[in-house]
């Protein structure tokens, strides 16, 4: 991908953070606390960003890009495992990425038919996300057995547990 196109994509991806910083600074100047963006505002911003990316990349490349974007949480898990000394080979990384991505997609599809997070209260949504995380951990642990050594599996469990959404402290 040409460097100029990469820069353009990074511009689009980082624009929301820059706008948030600017708004926070302007609000602070007036002596108030900045309000966090509403759910609707975030959704509108995401739709606008998607539209901009599509117009820059074209339909086919945009589809690949969104596929990559959806796999970023799983890539972070693998990266974190390696940072913790798991030393995954390239083959292991690819296999594990496939397992993680497929398990996440499977759970999203199953959940999507019955659960709409945006229609739930924050507590209900939190509980649902935690249930999905538990399902993901179970699915990944079962399938990763054939890919990882026992030590690597322990590292994976630790990483998954640390990256999970935790229940609110009572």
């Amino acid at each position: 991908m040409p460097a100029s196109l990469q820069e353009k994509i990074i511009d689009i991806l980082t624009l929301p953070q820059q706008q948030l910083e600017q708004q926070a600074f302007e609000t602070a100047q007036s002596g108030s606390l900045p309000d966090p963006p509403s759910f609707e505002a975030i959704k509108a911003q995401q739709a606008e960003q998607a539209q901009q990316l599509r117009s820059v990349l074209g339909d086919a490349e945009y589809a690949q890009f969104t596929q990559y974007q959806a796999s970023i949480p799983d890539r972070i898990i693998i990266d974190q495992m390696n940072q913790e000394g798991a030393n995954l080979s390239e083959n292991q990384s690819n296999e594990l990425l496939k397992v993680l991505t497929e398990a996440r997609q499977q759970i999203s599809i199953q959940a999507g038919t019955t659960q709409n997070l945006s229609a739930m209260s924050p507590d209900e949504a939190m509980t649902t996300v935690q249930q999905q995380q538990t399902l993901l951990q179970q699915a990944v642990n079962n399938r990763a057995q054939a890919i990882l050594t026992p030590d690597q599996k322990t590292t994976l469990q630790g990483v998954l547990s640390r990256l999970s959404v935790r229940p609110k402290s009572q």
């Binding site: 991806l13 980082t14 600074f25 108030s32 690949q64 890009f65």
Partner: protein, 128 residues
């Protein structure tokens, strides 16, 4: 016939139970109405930082006294909330060029970091 007045000793005997009962009632009412004045550890909390008189708990209150959280959520903020907020978070409007310049440098640094992290995250898709 001269009227007989009770002695001061008898008077005290008659009134003392009422004083004790009255005092106990006052103490009970005070304790019922101001549970937030007491911390979990039993020490007295300054009234000024009680949720009943303050729209927002301090950071310390949020982290170490979850008992107050429910109570604080049920209390309607006062009408002059904005004034209180402004008092607690005074205006940070830059008054001179050096403050603006510091802010500009800070924002540039943050944006550079965000761009770098974004590039790292999406590096795989760029190499395709």
């Amino acid at each position: 016939m001269a009227k007989r007045y009770p002695s001061s000793r008898t008077n005290f005997r008659r009134t003392s139970p009422w004083i004790i009962v009255g005092g106990a009632i006052c103490l009970s009412v005070f304790l019922l109405l101001s549970p937030a004045a007491f911390r979990k550890d039993g020490t007295l909390k300054p009234v000024a930082s009680s949720p009943a008189t303050q729209p927002y708990s301090s950071i310390d209150d949020r982290s170490d006294n979850h008992q107050d959280a429910g109570l604080a959520n049920n209390i309607a903020p006062p009408a002059n909330e904005l004034d209180v907020e402004k008092e607690r978070f005074p205006s940070v409007a830059p008054t001179d060029g050096s403050t603006l310049e510091t802010h500009r440098k800070f924002v540039a640094k943050v944006n550079a970091t965000i761009r770098k992290r974004t590039r790292e995250l999406y590096g795989g898709s760029f190499s395709n």
